[in-house]
């Protein structure tokens, strides 16, 4: 059973966003990591680059597939989780905390209106599950 903390925002591409002023932290949701299975590798962008909302920002490999991760926000990347290069498995075991991926400084907070709260995201996941 996947968990969706209610202090986060969520995208339909199964990414979560933690907002602290204009700094956002981004990772994959519990449902997203369960769907992928055992994570084997990840290719993240560099800390001095930028990301665009709804565009790919990283590539992840699991035991089942390679998947492009879609950024839930636009902005400048200020930090990348270097711990993932030592142990990518923390994305599976701790997706909302130590398994974070990038921190992004955003300029326009209104882009967060495109994201879902935990209840809306839970409903979205239920719909996707019913379609399987």
């Amino acid at each position: 059973m996947s968990v969706f903390p209610d202090d986060l925002l969520y995208s339909r591409e199964h990414m979560w966003v933690r907002v602290d002023g204009n700094i956002t932290t981004v990772g994959i949701t519990d449902y997203g990591q369960e769907k992928l299975g055992e994570i084997l590798s990840i290719k993240l962008p560099k800390a001095d680059s930028s990301v665009e909302q709804d565009e790919p920002f990283a590539v992840i490999e699991s035991s089942k597939t390679v998947d492009e991760l879609i950024s839930p926000v636009s902005g400048d990347i200020i930090s990348v989780n270097e711990d993932l290069s030592d142990d990518v498995g923390i994305i599976n075991s701790d997706p909302y905390d130590t398994g974070w991926m990038i921190a992004v400084a955003i300029k326009d907070l209104s882009m967060l209106d495109n994201l879902l709260d935990s209840y809306e995201y839970g409903d979205y996941v239920d719909e996707e599950e019913e379609a399987v």
Partner: protein, 279 residues
């Protein structure tokens, strides 16, 4: 009945093959293309490696160079394959297509069912691997070969793998690659791909305990066209779809040329996993 596009069997070089598949995959993400099934082979012997593989560590690049074997990095995951005498397929479709699923393993299962029926039409009784076998994951062990270990729903004949497959997903669309072995040269395979314990005298013999081919099972009686036809017919029957023969669109062709130039024809991508306008 849903119409799919089938791109009939053809041979291209390694770099074109991957550029064509990625162009179809990327154009399909825009949402206005039918599912596309493509069969192909390779003009020169080729080692294709998975998206995240380390070419310098997992492929014997000197051997490949000396023996005119191309090396190309796939957009899909998984491990290395020596395309020497195989039939490769690619299938691109939406995750929302009624025959498939958001569930990744379910997609593998459906496609494997289609392939099993196709192989049965040429006299091969394959079965799906019920549970994947874990790969040994120590830093000392190099097991770079796709056919060493079967994953769940991959195809076996008498417990030995005959077809390997891998996927990439993006923006609600998936691309699945698969390689069906028509014949295998275990010595060449062991030389080109870094496989644990394969460089020993009896390495090739041991390799053959995990892998088999069409020729080993039914001899030379089947042509590649016959194999394509058998598999196509079973896709139609199993999924109740109409396969309409077609070629790539002008948009796909333009994108293919761009991908060929900036990505697949470069050592930067094939050996290092980086590309121009990429990361």
């Amino acid at each position: 009945m849903e119409k799919w596009r089938i791109i009939p069997f053809n041979r291209f070089n390694a770099f074109e093959n991957m550029a064509i598949d990625e162009a179809i995959f990327k154009e399909s993400q825009k949402g206005n293309m039918p599912p596309t099934l493509r069969f192909y082979s390779w003009e020169r012997n080729t080692v294709s490696i998975g998206y995240f593989q380390n070419a310098k560590r997992e492929v014997n690049l000197d051997y490949c160079n000396e023996n005119a074997i191309d090396v190309v990095r796939r957009p899909t995951g998984g491990k290395a394959v020596l395309h020497e005498n195989d039939l490769t397929y690619s299938l691109v479709a939406s995750e929302k297509n009624e025959n498939f699923s958001f569930d990744i393993m379910e997609t593998y299962r459906v496609i494997s069912e289609c392939l099993i029926g196709g192989l049965r039409r040429i006299g091969i009784e394959a079965e799906m691997m019920a549970e994947g076998r874990p790969r040994p994951r120590t830093k000392e062990t190099i097991d770079a070969y796709c056919f060493s270990v079967p994953s769940q729903y991959e195809l076996l004949v008498n417990g030995r793998k005959i077809c390997g497959s891998a996927q990439v997903r993006a923006k609600g669309t998936f691309l699945q690659h698969g390689s069906i072995l028509i014949d295998i040269d275990p010595v060449n395979t062991c030389s080109a791909i870094m496989i644990d314990d394969c460089d020993t005298e009896n390495g090739p013999e041991r390799l053959m305990k995990s892998v088999t081919s069409i020729r080993e099972n039914i001899g030379d009686g089947v042509t590649i066209e016959g194999l394509c036809k058998g598999i196509s017919e079973n896709f139609k029957k199993r999924l109740n779809v109409q396969l309409v023969a077609g070629e790539i669109t002008p948009e796909e062709d333009s994108l293919k040329k761009l991908l060929l130039q900036n990505k697949y024809a470069t050592d930067l991508w094939n050996l290092e996993g980086k590309w121009k306008n990429g990361n």
